[in-house]
Symmetry: C2
Subunit: 447 residues, 2 copies
């Protein structure tokens, strides 16, 4: 799981060699550490939309810096760690010039690892066509900047629905923190929360909450359990009975409980329902368990097809239905699924896996409106190349290509997926529903 | 614009060398030629949805071949040129197995250049969650097969709305012909036509119709004019007054008219409206004119930003509005815009271009429902790497990478974009509205 090239290229000799040879020069990502100030600081705040109050409130305890005025041709050299441009008031194509001028003047001021967030109004909420077109155009700008700013800088676009201004906090805090180090070029929609206004403990958001995580005994699942536990949750770790020892260890490590369960078993749903009647409902359910059985379709066995579909798609569908049916998720509950870049773009030799992970997107989009009636959200992360035991088995050259083919020129860590799930599962994220967010360093791969 | 690697690798020595070195081995695409039978033949037809009648009708004059039954372990070796699987009746995850079995048994029977189409019901039209999930899962399968079948085979997913069965013909004919040689991995939705049922001349669909094409004096614009003219249209070729000679030549070559017009001029809209009152309304309007002014944002001049936005986005928005306002498009009219992979995925050094092309997607999606009330559709193509004078100026190594980073391992030709526009502009394509279809050989690049 170690990326020896990343280490090499950040050594004095490696840096010189990579520069001379024109090789990718990834910067080791700075990730959030417990006890660390969560928001990056200082941050430039600019623009003139309906979200400025919200932005200022989030930053009330930290520094904000004035944007370099567009009239100055020599941009200020004071480095900042982030930038927020509120473009929600943008109503015409001409006003797009303001974003050009802002980034033209201020892009050089962004320090390494800076976080950039553009706020907008989704086209479907715009009053007229020119406004909708201008707002939709922001996607092209954000995705281009995410590709060209480099230096481990990330750039996102958050579309905030009119009336949902108060629901922005958790998303703004996530994308302006080191927690989102491996998320870039994403477009996220924030709506009015499904569960009304909540009072949040920003240090321990999951305190007093129960979280179920499938496939929790190792890799990404273990990291998810750790992040939720770190942030206060009691985590019920699920894995197949065969993984008994690893599962006990994982549950112990997060001060949680172990629940050995084959999620594909015919009685899995009723066992989970029984668990709920005995111990109470969940606040967070993370469908992380997943398997791969890669082969091209002409060489794929029927069992390779069926087992991947059963674990990755049938189980999340069946268990989500069962939990919602028995009110197994409390109001304010969160279901988070794990899709994949393969589910978005397809992949050679992964027709079974990609089918299952595309289905997960259908599950999220189809279930979200229904779950909202129980004040529950349903979202998914779509990991790109994440350094795990699974990806360590990929042949060297393909692994190297997979690692570098993204704007951060490196693979992500399980913690990156886990932090993103932590945001989606957050009590204050009730405005984020039915979304698929990629954790891929803005992988080049797409549909 | 010549791809010397493509030529080399298809020579006897080149083929051996490429095989030995594990280099990409693109196959020269077979494209439609005038007078040629349009549909590929023979074709396997399988599945059991509500679209079989439609499929059989399209193939009534050509051969269809029975699918190899899933029970046979030794797939038949009779080669076919295409396959259609009607999955519109798919209601559960278990039924996805039928698609696995079909492709497991029949993928080897697909000849070089075969066309594969999977037909489905869009998740938003499904009666329940399992059906919606299964239908959404098809995307992952189709995109994976498009990546792994190779040999210049293309694979698409057409979601046909219930009640829109009769609107499928033009799309089926396009995707099962050599006209769609460079389109792969696409998901297209077919709805009830905005303009009711039309009687179609499949040989000369544009006979008696007037088409306006901007930027028509060269490259992709010229190819569009040629395809529309070949299929019967009277083409009004638009280009800037400076391109006078090339424009006259283009108009002459397609037996059309030349209309010198700076589409960014303040009076462009009123000039076009005047043209309509004098000569009559259009049936097809193709907003093809586009420019690039590439620079990273910190080095981009304000004029580079503004001119790209003005030509690529402001003009199509302004002219479309003006034409709809004066009923400058006849009922059954078609507006087709040209977006770009850059508009979908963003691009380094193209923040202006990507912003404009993302805006074009907003234009298409925002204008489509409104245009439908005038029985007009609005769609876009999003070209990937197309061999033109524009791409010939890209430095060699970057050009080589751009060419190969798609499932067909080659750049497309202007004719590929033109044929796709011909389908969207087709009188029988009234059921395709508000869509963005990539012409990119399933480029790896995506959002």
């Amino acid at each position: 799981m170690s990326d020896s090239y990343l280490t090499f290229v950040n050594s004095p000799w490696g840096r010189r060699l990579a520069q001379a040879a024109g090789l990718p020069q990834p910067l080791p990502l700075q990730r959030h550490r417990s006890g660390q100030q969560s928001l990056v600081n200082p941050v430039i705040v600019a623009g003139a939309g309906r979200l400025m109050t919200q932005v200022q409130r989030v930053f009330s305890d930290t520094d904000t810096v004035a944007a370099t005025p567009a009239t100055l041709n020599a941009p200020s050299t004071v480095k900042v760690q982030g930038a927020v441009f509120d473009a929600s008031g943008l109503v015409s194509l001409e006003q797009l010039d303001e974003l050009y001028r802002f980034f033209y003047c201020n892009a050089r001021r962004l320090g390494q690892h800076a976080r950039v967030v553009v706020l907008g109004t989704a086209p479907e909420h715009c009053a007229d066509l020119p406004q909708a077109v201008a707002q939709r155009a922001l996607e092209g700008l954000v995705r281009s900047l995410a590709k060209e700013l480099r230096r481990a800088i990330t750039v996102q676009l958050l579309y905030v629905a009119p009336g949902a201004e108060d629901a922005l906090d958790s998303s703004l805090r996530f994308f302006l923190s080191r927690r989102s180090a491996y998320v870039s070029g994403q477009v996220v929609r924030v709506h009015a929360p499904v569960d009304g206004h909540v009072t949040v403990n920003w240090d321990k958001p999951f305190a007093g909450r129960r979280a179920l995580v499938t496939g929790a005994s190792r890799g990404i699942g273990l990291a998810i359990a750790q992040v939720l536990a770190r942030d206060g949750a009691h985590v019920i770790c699920v894995d197949v009975p065969q993984a008994h020892d690893a599962l006990q260890q994982a549950a112990g490590a997060v001060n949680g409980s172990a629940l050995p369960l084959d999620i594909t078993a015919p009685d899995a749903a009723s066992l989970l329902q029984a668990h709920v009647s005995q111990y109470g409902a969940f606040d967070v359910v993370v469908h992380n368990a997943g398997i791969t059985r890669d082969k091209t379709i002409v060489k794929m066995s029927e069992s390779a097809w069926q087992s991947v579909l059963a674990v990755n798609l049938q189980a999340p569908l069946c268990l989500s239905n069962a939990l919602l049916e028995c009110e197994g998720l409390n109001p304010g509950g969160r279901i988070v699924c794990v899709s994949s870049i393969s589910g978005i773009a397809g992949n050679l030799g992964q027709s079974n896996y990609a089918t299952s992970k595309a289905g997960v997107i259908g599950l999220v989009q189809g279930l979200a409106p229904r779950a909202a009636t129980q004040q529950v959200t349903v979202n998914a992360v779509a990991p790109g190349f994440i350094e795990t035991q699974m990806t360590a088995r990929i042949p060297l050259m393909i692994r190297e290509a997979g690692r570098r083919m993204n704007s951060l020129s490196q693979g992500g860590q399980p913690i990156d997926v886990a932090e993103t799930i932590g945001w989606l599962a957050h009590p204050a994220s009730g405005g984020v529903n039915g979304q698929v967010v990629r954790v891929c360093g803005q992988s080049l791969l797409g549909a």
